[in-house]
């Protein structure tokens, strides 16, 4: 059986499974549709959160990013996991006790104001929609690469599949499907990593393999990698930070509080039966997420090692001189996987010095000593460009693993993208049908019609996401940063103050959310253009790129959150305190006793 048939079979089987589960778990009531009837156990819910959380970005891109960034890539690892500690302790149990379906509903009730709830809906919609576009693009890429169809067809197929199980199954269907998707994606990630760890270090556990010696040598993998990459003019793998210590600090903080404020993740804690279950759900979620996230740095470093080993075999596995003429791979002798990926354009070779060998090094290095060595060796510039996104997808091919592993990785990538898209659609649908239509426009809507409105808004969101996935405004990377920035700077502080400050009033919360949101958008748009439209950047206005203490736009969410807190407390001091019944409500939310099943009523 050839590779293509194997991929069709494996991907087809997983899809049949997802759709089967969706049919089995059809939602009958609004409570089942939005919150799976509040009856999902903590372990299952943890898995569903894991699948929900780990998108195409975590699955496909993250290890590649770490592979290029080295130590600095740790900010993704710490940022995207550390947020769960905040979520578990500061938000989840209290929101579960509050017992409503959605985040805007909490903000609206706690701050006794429909305006507050509407501002929250706006933040939620922008954050979720921008995030989902990236997922649909990811679905398109994965389908086209693995099923041999065009990217457009890939997106149409993806839209259809998500539509089927999200619209009919609701949260109940999505939750159980995500459990299945988690199993697929985690085995797709870990199995190749185990094989590669054994090949390179003899240790089957990638997390330990990364700290072990290279097979047959008395030197650790990381130390060897440091030596080889610095020989090639790159920054030292284990110490190169991301734009300075301050930027790394703020970036990590932004990702952490952004994680804790993302509505599609928070919403998951409404599906468990009790407050205690909400606390353990977060722990289980982090175990399931941690399984992939602690493997990722091993995948990253080993993929880098394997790549360098392919190109300069004697240097990695022995102690050959990297500048010697015969140390580099002859292009004509390159392995098959390089030929396959060259066809996609994601891997490119250009023989700049015409010696028929591949020179892969950092030609932007600032070190004079290195430049002198490169010149003495007759190198005329870096000849190989490798797109970071192929690191995970090509990993099994680089390690020459069997076809079924490659097929499994394809299914895993699709599972990651589809499950996150479905979770985001759920958050969007709940916000539109519940927080806008029911709470603002048609308060006396029947449960049946609300359910219908939820399904229609989901369908519309799929079409918009699909359209933007087909016609990307060219801002895939920027939008993810924006989604985190918005969640970090607007929703997280508002929810947190709603629980931890009894006296916080609606004026403070609304002004805080708006201030945090605007300052973040202002800084991001300065660098990336107004709503990411090219040519509308206004960097001069803020004094050049990263003018705020060298902080990059992606890292700015934490600053936005600080502004949010600051403005909220200032305004709060100048305006009347919240009514007594709201303060009593906050006290009730703080204690677990008396938690009820979630409901949408007011």
């Amino acid at each position: 059986m050839d590779l293509q048939t194997t991929i069709y079979l494996v991907v087809g089987a997983t899809f049949a499974l997802y759709i089967g589960i969706a049919i089995w778990a059809r939602a009958g009531s609004t409570s089942e549709f939005y919150a799976a009837g509040g009856q999902v156990g903590p372990v299952m819910n943890g898995m569903a959160i894991g699948a929900d959380w780990m998108s195409a970005a975590s699955f496909i891109s993250m290890a590649g990013l770490i592979s290029n960034m080295g130590y600095g890539g740790g900010l993704f690892l710490m940022g995207w996991t550390g947020g769960y500690v905040l979520l578990a302790m500061l938000l989840a149990p209290y929101l579960r006790k509050f017992g409503k379906f959605t985040v805007p509903q909490f903000i609206g009730d706690r701050f006794y104001s429909k305006s507050a709830s509407t501002v929250a809906v706006a933040c939620l919609l922008v954050a979720s929609l921008t995030y989902i576009i990236g997922q649909m693009t990811g679905v398109g890429v994965a389908f086209s690469r693995f099923l041999g169809v065009t990217s457009e067809t890939g997106i149409y197929v993806g839209m259809g599949i998500v539509f089927l199980y999200a619209v009919f199954g609701g949260m109940k269907g999505i939750t159980y499907t995500q459990v299945a998707q988690y199993c697929v994606l985690i085995s797709a990630y870990i199995i190749p990593a185990i094989f590669i760890s054994i090949q390179l270090t003899g240790n089957p556990i990638p997390q330990l393999g990364l700290g072990s010696n290279i097979v047959g040598q008395d030197v650790s993998l990381l130390h060897k990698l440091d030596l080889v990459v610095t020989d090639l003019g790159f920054a030292n793998y284990t110490t190169s930070d991301a734009g300075g210590m301050l930027n790394m600090f703020v970036y990590t903080m932004s990702l952490m509080i952004g994680t804790a404020g993302l509505p599609h993740v928070i919403m998951r804690f409404f599906t468990v039966p009790t407050v205690a279950a909400a606390r353990s759900s977060a722990g289980w979620a982090l175990i399931f997420i941690g399984l992939l996230y602690t493997t990722a740095p091993a995948v990253a470093a080993m993929a880098k090692t394997n790549l360098l080993r392919t190109i300069t075999p004697g240097v990695v596995m022995g102690n050959a001189d990297p500048y010697a003429a015969d140390s580099q791979l002859v292009y004509a002798d390159r392995p098959d996987w390089m030929k396959r990926w060259e066809k996609t354009g994601l891997l490119k070779f250009e023989d700049k010095n015409g010696d028929g060998r591949i020179q892969y090094y950092n030609d932007k290095s600032k070190s004079d000593a290195f430049k002198a060595k490169a010149e003495a060796a007759g190198w005329k510039g870096n000849e190989l460009t490798v797109n970071a996104d192929i690191i995970v997808l090509a990993n099994p091919e680089i390690a020459l693993l069997p076809d079924w592993v490659i097929a499994l990785v394809a299914a895993g990538g699709l599972a990651a993208a589809l499950s996150t898209a479905a979770g985001l659609l759920m958050a969007i649908s709940a916000a539109v049908s519940h927080d806008l239509i029911k709470n603002v426009f048609v308060p006396d809507i029947s449960e049946k019609n609300e359910l219908l409105a939820g399904k229609i808004s989901m369908a519309v969101a799929i079409v918009i996401a699909g359209y933007l996935g087909l016609n990307p405004p060219g801002f895939a990377a920027g939008t993810v940063a924006l989604a985190f920035g918005i969640a970090a700077s607007s929703l997280f502080p508002a929810i947190m103050m709603g629980i931890f400050s009894k006296k916080m009033n609606k004026e403070g919360a609304i002004c805080g959310m708006l201030a945090g949101l605007f300052i973040t958008l202002f800084y991001v748009f300065a660098a990336k253009g107004i709503f990411f439209i090219k040519g509308t950047e206004y960097l001069d206005l803020i004094g050049g790129p990263n003018s705020f203490f060298g902080i990059t736009p992606e890292a700015f969410g934490a600053i936005g959150a600080l502004v949010n807190f600051g403005v909220a407390f200032l305004v709060d001091k100048m305006t009347p305190e919240p009514p007594a019944h709201i303060q009593a409500m906050v006290e009730a939310v703080r204690i677990p006793r008396g938690s009820k099943a979630v409901s949408g009523s007011h």
């Binding site: 302790m89 700290g211 284990t238 600090f249 353990s280 982090l286 740095p297």
Partner: protein, 84 residues
Amino acid sequence: MEDSAKAYWSATLGLLGKILVVWFLVSFGAGILFAPALNSIHLGGYPLGFWFAQQGAMYIFIALIFYYRKKMGEIDRQFDVHEE
């Protein structure tokens, strides 16, 4: 009742404070601020600062959440506000 609710909340905040200190120390402390200094120590083949940033912090995060759940359950029962 009023006093007991206050005591419960301050016990909760005390626990959160302790956990957040550890949370901060392992990630922002050992993983970022002190990482260059810690890198001179090795844990197997890992430089220690690098290990905290790419492995250790995550393991400790998981432990922290389960520790929180256990302690919080005890506080709930001590002040008799746990779920039936």
